[in-house]
Amino acid sequence: MRLENRTQLDMLREDCVRRRNAETRRILVCGGTGCLAGGSQQIFEKMKELTAAYCGNHDIQVEFGEEIAHTGVKKSGCHGFCEMGPLVRIEPFNYLYLKTNLEDCEEIFQTSVLAGKPVERLMYKQDDKVYQTEEEIPFYARQTRLVLKNCGHIDAEHIEEALAVGDYQSFEKALFEMPPEEVIRIISDSNLRGRGGAGFPTGRKWTQVAGQKEKTRYVVCNGDEGDPGAFMDRSVMEGDPHRMIEGMMIAAYAVQAKEGYIYVRAEYPLAVKRLEIAIEQAEHLGLLGDNILGTDFSFHLHINRGAGAFVCGEGSALTASIEGKRGMPRVKPPRTVEQGLFGKPTVLNNVETYANVPMIIKNGADWYKSIGLATSPGTKAFALTGNVNNTGLIEVPMGITLREIIYDIGGGIKDGKKFKAVQIGGPSGGCLTEDDLDCSMDFDSLKKIGAMIGSGGLVVMDDSTCMVEVARFFMNFTQRESCGKCVPCREGTKRMLEIMERIVHGEGQMSDLDELRELADMIENTALCGLGKGAPKPVISALNGFGDEFREHIEEKRCRTHVCQDLLTYKINPDKCKGCSKCARNCPADAITGELKHPYVIDAMKCLKCGACMEGCPFGAIYQE
């Protein structure tokens, strides 16, 4: 059915809301990448089976005593609590079941769906308290979920569900009630800043594109979320694709573009699939295509899959890739707003930015500015990962402190270990240390301390993490991903990586540290694109925050976390050694000698540090230092 005018859309929406409300029981099984890996597909099938068995035909009526109910089984997008997957949510009670198994389905169905009672053993527990509903769990209670509001609560593969919760309402409002200039004015007034990294004002970008002489314009969505440790955009694309598409449609209307492209990285097959379905369904309803809802406005949307190049997250590299070229950044100006995709003015924003647009249009700029900080309004989604108890996707108001995120939402450091650092902003970001725990999380405050929000990855590290090794890891990443176009990045990162490798292998010198700083300075100031300019940041911020560890690696040839293999020495504890000679026989280098029934010793000069002795010791007498 193609919608020909506004009335038909409103009627369809009312119908969708009615149908949703008619479902007095909703079983939502998380179908995000995380939970699918934990077997949620089988749980979904089982729930459908159970419902069908009781109801004759799933989502038709079931009788619960006197009440006649309709049960809907939905495969939702990501709830964000990936650590605890697979997740199952039962509405209207909002019970959230964690780590569910196939065997639990029957009990959940009997107890919760049919009888409306909770199954406590599958619920979140903390300090002996059972948290029955998703809304009560500290992980969620401390969040402000606006962009992710529908993620996990709707079936992402059916546009009817999206319509029922209000998707496309803002687009409709913009299209029929606002001239394009008005849309741009609201976005500018709201002070929405791009969620992709640098925080450039979105309204200014749109204004610049709208002001170009050239009338062929493009709207492009950057879904090439390449930062290791970040998956916010993936969850939006998987969980509520229509919201992001709606944001793009509003942008297209504002700058009068007829074509749009979504660039999604190849590592996100499920996001690609969900977006394809979403676009097809929107086209079918006539929300995308020619003469949308009977107006003069036409908009076509295409998906381009990435092919494994991190640099394609950079604007000009991304547009080059869509054009079928090598994804290499070019010298700017001209900027993307002047000559972007196919040389035409282009609005390029990331997934989360577009997902913010509909609610701003709906609620107004003042409402948006009331959330977060005046200079960075709104919320930000972060992917909280690493050595923290509750990993997953979170959304918080700008200006929250790191401490609140790690301890209140994340539930503290895993296994009771000690907090060491947080890596923020991926390979172009930096490490925040204990001193920064009370720093406000917003674009400007983070910039001041030499870090950046980037796309929003927060990797928490405990005291068993070697910061020197982590700095080497990031250097290795950017070096491998350098496209090779400009010399500072291609050669500079290579030299920095070589120095870092020397240091972790125990061959560093103190002069290396000065050299690292000098190279970093050069690269930051002369590289062509953001990838290059940001590449030295992880090393420099680790050096600033954890200079002692660098010095230990170089001067004492010691890694306090025992992560750097080459700096370890193996020793035998004479009190534990029973002199069985097993280690001496296991040693491939004949480095262990001794007399039977007396403690053995390891010759550090001969030792290859293979660890065979320690693995084989029946008495646990061998240790690393």
Partner: protein, 159 residues
């Protein structure tokens, strides 16, 4: 020399995507999906059809890490070495696999064409770190032991 069926398939792909330079990447992706790798002959063929030079097509195909010019094994194992997986110790998994499969930094596919081992920067499954995929299926919270028993199981299935 490739079988004619390869060229027919490629023709169908070009037909579907469109005969323009901007479709070069989607076309190569489709070819790789069909054959798990991009046979160099087909790349030349595509370049010719799209009216671009072989050098240009090669420069694009070699730029992106996902494209492989060598045939891959039946099972493509990808160990995630994103930050979250790295700090939750994904490297020991890679090392165990490299040793068990007799591979090296230069050799990615076993001689019996059963396994190909790759690393990937981030699968976005950071909540499940460390993560490994086998032919696209995500295995969460892996350890070297769990990984090796999975490999063993796959080997047995193919005996």
């Amino acid at each position: 020399m490739l079988d004619q069926s390869y060229y027919d398939k490629t023709d169908a792909i070009i037909q579907l995507r469109g005969k323009e330079e901007r479709f070069l990447i989607p076309i190569i992706q489709d070819i790789q999906e069909a054959y798990t790798y991009v046979p160099p002959e087909l790349l030349d063929y595509v370049a010719d059809k799209l009216n671009i030079s072989e050098a240009k097509a090669y420069s694009v195909a070699s730029f992106y890490e996902n494209f492989s010019f060598e045939a891959k094994g039946k099972y493509v194992i990808r160990v995630c070495d994103g930050t979250a997986c790295h700090v939750r110790k994904s490297m020991p998994i890679l090392e165990a696999l490299t040793e068990n499969l007799g591979l090296s930094k230069r050799k990615h596919t076993t001689d019996d064409q059963l396994f190909t081992l790759e690393t990937v920067s981030c699968l976005g499954a950071c909540g499940l770190a460390p993560a490994v995929t086998v032919n696209g299926k995500v295995y969460p919270k892996m350890t070297p032991e769990k990984m090796l028993s999975l490999v063993e199981q796959l080997r047995k299935e193919n005996e």
